[in-house]
């Protein structure tokens, strides 16, 4: 099977230079790839959404394989905490925009590849324009709003979405292609409520896991381009790194899918932050003045000896790395049944690593009759930066 959006006629495919023939010789002697397959790779345009844990290996292998045009979407800068899994980057890249560092690395792997940077946060206003010029989209994003956005944009544009997702020790791979099979929404019609599924930043992820899953995504993209093998359309691969087990499930097209069925109820992109019930990145950055206190405010209260209970809602593992002295430990999932340990008359300040978990916990407390419950804006990380540098950052 060949991707409908890819150039198929031999006459229109670009030729390979002598250098390319030498470089790709191990591909060229594979009957499933051959010269024509390699020329298809050269003609292909693949968009990587996200150049992090998944985008690192998929991008490097797609560049090495000779995909002619690789678009990269990212707006982040390289952080030390990326390096345990994002092998596109090294020590010298810390603080550098990911797009810049990724383009340099991909060029170094294969100078024949044209890398097209898209320094944007993908959203409903720009997604169709960014995706339109590509044959295949490789989804390596980290959040539900962007997952649904990428899916819907791919369905509307008729493009295959090579999906990979990871959490802790568990990975998923599929090819969602509304024109030929189920899409992401056929499986996950609606997102889970905010907070049920922690992000990798909260829940952690085994560094090698995105390496495995990202390589599988590159494999699927290459198969779609050269037209070899059985693409993962209509199948979902589940990978468990702890057991080292692979399982495959059958996916079916939902005849009532709101976006990819014959009679869709949604024919354009929507507001995916609203759809997922999460604040926009700008809103999240600003915080919630109603419930937030700054680390300086809390430090002042503690210095004055005000009656304030500080509650750490993080996990035991995180507390082993760093703590705020005197904090009461109630993991976020236990807050609801341990309300009795808190005093409604006093200020209660909740904190986590950066703020999302303690924000949810603060809303819960406010709803349960704690008018003086507050969220520590920026979490223990901000506390370390602005108040107490002896607290280890992680």
């Amino acid at each position: 099977m060949t991707a409908a959006t890819l150039p198929e006629s031999r006459a229109t495919l670009p030729d390979l230079s002598a250098e390319e023939i030498r470089r790709y010789s191990r591909h060229l002697i594979l009957p499933e790839v051959g010269t024509v397959g390699q020329r298809k790779l050269k003609a292909a345009k693949v968009l990587l959404v996200g150049t992090g844990g998944l985008g690192s290996p998929s991008g490097m292998y797609l560049a090495a394989a000779g995909v002619g045009t690789i678009g990269v979407v990212d707006f982040d800068v390289v952080d030390a905490s990326n390096l345990h899994r994002q092998l596109l980057y090294g020590m010298r890249d810390i603080g550098r925009p990911k797009l810049e560092a990724a383009a340099a690395r991909l060029h170094d792997i294969n100078p024949n590849v044209r890398v097209v940077p898209h320094a944007v946060r993908l959203d409903s206003s720009n997604a169709l324009d960014v995706l339109r010029d590509y044959d295949i989209v490789v989804d390596g994003t980290d959040n539900f709003p962007t997952r649904y956005l990428v899916n819907d944009a791919c369905v509307l544009l008729g493009k295959p979405n090579v999906y990979g997702s990871i959490f802790r020790f568990e990975g998923q791979v599929s090819v969602f292609w509304g024109a030929k099979g189920p899409c992401y929404r056929c499986l996950f019609a609606e997102p889970p409520p905010p907070g049920l599924v922690p992000s990798c930043a909260e829940g952690g992820v085994l560094g090698v896991l995105p390496g495995i899953i990202g390589c599988l995504q590159a494999n699927e993209a290459i198969k779609l381009i050269v037209g070899a093998g059985d693409p993962m359309i209509g199948r979902l691969l589940l990978f468990d790194a702890l057991r080292l087990s692979f399982r495959e499930l059958k996916l079916r097209k939902n005849p009532e899918c709101p976006i990819c069925s014959e009679h869709p109820t949604q024919t354009e992109l929507v507001d995916y932050y609203e759809f997922c019930g999460v604040p926009t990145p700008e809103e999240a950055e600003q915080g919630d003045a109603e419930i937030d206190v700054t680390v300086q405010q809390l430090a002042g209260w503690l210095r004055r000896g005000d009656a304030v209970t500080v509650v750490d809602v993080r996990t035991d593992q995180e507390r082993e790395i760093a703590t705020i002295d005197g904090a009461l430990h109630i993991p976020v999932q236990e807050i609801e049944r341990r309300l009795g340990e808190l005093d409604q008359a006093h200020r209660v300040v909740l904190f986590c690593h950066h703020g999302p978990r303690s924000t949810r916990a603060t809303h819960l407390l406010r709803g349960a009759g704690f008018p003086k419950a507050y969220n520590l804006k920026g979490g223990i990380d901000e506390w370390s930066v602005a108040v107490d540098a002896s607290v280890t950052r992680y």
């Binding site: 996200g50 150049t51 992090g52 844990g53 998944l54 985008g55 990212d74 982040d76 952080d79 994002q86 989804d139 390596g140 994003t141 980290d142 959040n143 539900f144 709003p145 962007t146 997952r147 997702s165 990871i166 959490f167 802790r168 020790f169 568990e170 998923q172 499986l187 996950f188 019609a189 609606e190 997102p191 889970p192 905010p194 907070g195 049920l196 599924v197 922690p198 992000s199 990798c200 930043a201 909260e202 829940g203 589940l238 399982r247 495959e248 499930l249 059958k250 079916r252 932050y273 997922c276 999460v278 604040p279 926009t280 990145p281 999240a284 950055e285 999932q333 950066h354 703020g355 999302p356």
Partner: protein, 99 residues
């Protein structure tokens, strides 16, 4: 009749970190009810207040989605494996949308 329910990582904190739960049941609906009886903290994550399975909860009997079989009424026999498929979104950067 004992069947195995596989618990995805995001829900294991409600099953005492156990990845597989064995229950006696003859239908998918019954198996899930046994599961939340044994692990009550799971209930709000699988069922809405009206007692219906939440829409984002995907249950597979062996390799088939029960929505395309007989949903809750799908029969199960010893040796069958039910798998709850989680929505996971992790990929690259820190989760900016919920920070």
């Amino acid at each position: 009749m004992s069947i195995i329910i596989q618990i995805p990582t995001p829900l294991r904190r409600f099953t005492g970190e156990s990845g597989e739960v064995s229950v006696d049941a003859t239908t998918v609906g019954e198996a899930l009810l046994r599961l939340v009886e044994t692990h009550p903290d799971l209930r709000p994550h699988l069922y809405a207040n009206d007692g219906k399975l939440r829409t984002f909860v995907n249950v597979f009997k062996n390799d088939e989605d029960v929505r395309f079989l007989e949903k809750d009424a799908t029969s199960v026999a010893p040796g069958d494996r039910l798998t709850i498929i989680p929505s996971i979104a992790g990929g690259s950067r820190r989760d900016r949308t919920s920070r």
